[in-house]
Amino acid sequence: MISGKPPYLGFGLGLRPQHYREILDGSPAVDWFEIISENYMIEGGQPLYMLDRICERHPVVMHGVSLSIASTAPFDFDYLGALKKLAERVNPKWISDHLCWTGVHGVNLHDLLPIPYTQEALDHVVERVGQVQDFLGRRLTLENVSSYVTFGQSEMTEWEFVSEVAKRADCWLLFDVNNVYVSAFNHGFSTDEFLHGVPRDRVVQFHVAGHSHEESHIIDTHDHPVCPEVWDFYREAVTHFGPVSTMIERDDNIPALAELVDELEHARSIANEVFTGKRLAAAE
């Protein structure tokens, strides 16, 4: 079991096909890349070729969307096998997926669906994380998702649930700053409570992303630049957790690489201000 805490990598971007050439032809100010694992569970062609070249030059982490860790359906061992095979190729710094489920009865709804925060669900997820970690021979990193509904049967808060999973299953956490902001708005809890409610030493990655505001609720669309409120919360997260590998996630309306590198610069400047204790006058 590879069990040491993943290294601090700095500031990264999600690898998107639109940017392959620019990444390989230039030297963008990006410290590392995150891939969507399922997009590279293919046989050959340009995506895998580009992935191999990028892995030669940059640290890469793998981020999945179909593990379905909280599903009550049996594990898809073909999927886990493909994940392990891809990890052998990529040699990722860590492997993450979401604290959610994606379907039952062989169906994949291709969405990150919410879990009731019950003791039953907690025991189930902890057992499944253990099985995946044994299969992969490494610790898993799990991300909190954005959600739009809460369940009447929930017995604890989301942050209590997330914390218990991390401690009992002995896994790492990907703290999605935007998802906490979205779910806090949708369900009326305080982002600070969530921030202070998860174990500091378990968090190994931040996601920062844009969303769509629908007045009564926010949808996690990853198709906009990061908004000022999420940047403010990112500053709080950096202040609380210290240096954590940070990544901008953009999945739709994907702009030119330079635009994302600028957004990443903004994250870097916030973190630098926090780490040096110097807040730039312009940011006041």
Binding site: E43, G44, V104, D111, L113, Q153, H217
Partner: protein
Amino acid sequence: MKSLRELQETFQRGILAGDDSILAEVNDSAKEQRQVLFGVYRHAYVARLAEILGDDYAQLHAYLGDQAFAKLIKDYIDANPSDQRSARWFGRHLPDFVRKSGTYAKHPELAEIADLEKALADAFDGPDAAPLTIEALAALAPEAWPQLTLKPHPTALRLTFRTNAAEIWQALKEETAPPKPIQLPEPQAIVVWRQDFMARFKPLTAEEAMMWNEAGKGVMFGVLCEMVATFAGEDEAELRAATYLKGWVDMEMLAGFLPG
């Protein structure tokens, strides 16, 4: 209280079948009713898959227009819940769905346009293989040629079209007005494969298609030449066979081989 398994089954039925039982299990928020909040999941499921199908079948979309394509993909999504770990493969049954559905089956070019788009997508990320090169063939001793066997590139797929779907697809891709759909007098052979990183297709003449099909079965080059001779005459049969072969090599339609 529902078990986790029952809750997930109810939630999934709420998304796939529009069953509202799930609403008894979820809460209103301070600002919004539960129907609207659960509706985010219902909407996202269809919207995400529709976007994937629109990307995968872009020319079919252009050919049918927004309204008819939206109807087609809604019918397809309702009939085919995804069972794939990646939405990349969600649309793989669309050509057959179109071929077998009453309304669409009356327009056979639709299924063939879909066949072509699916084949191109599959070639794009299909298996890698070093292509057979002119240099490798040039190094072959003259006496080894009759025993030479050829191997199609692993992404190569042979299609047979009964309509002018390939011509329609090409026009749409170039954003020009597509020709009227017609039944071809003779079926048209097409090979789809990947050259460099690009998925491509090439219509074959009847003779070239015959030689391609036989080559794919492992028939030796000497025998292929004899087959070409019987197909369209002995005059310059070897030259014709060699010309087809050179075309395939130039376009990287063949994978490297081991002589002998």
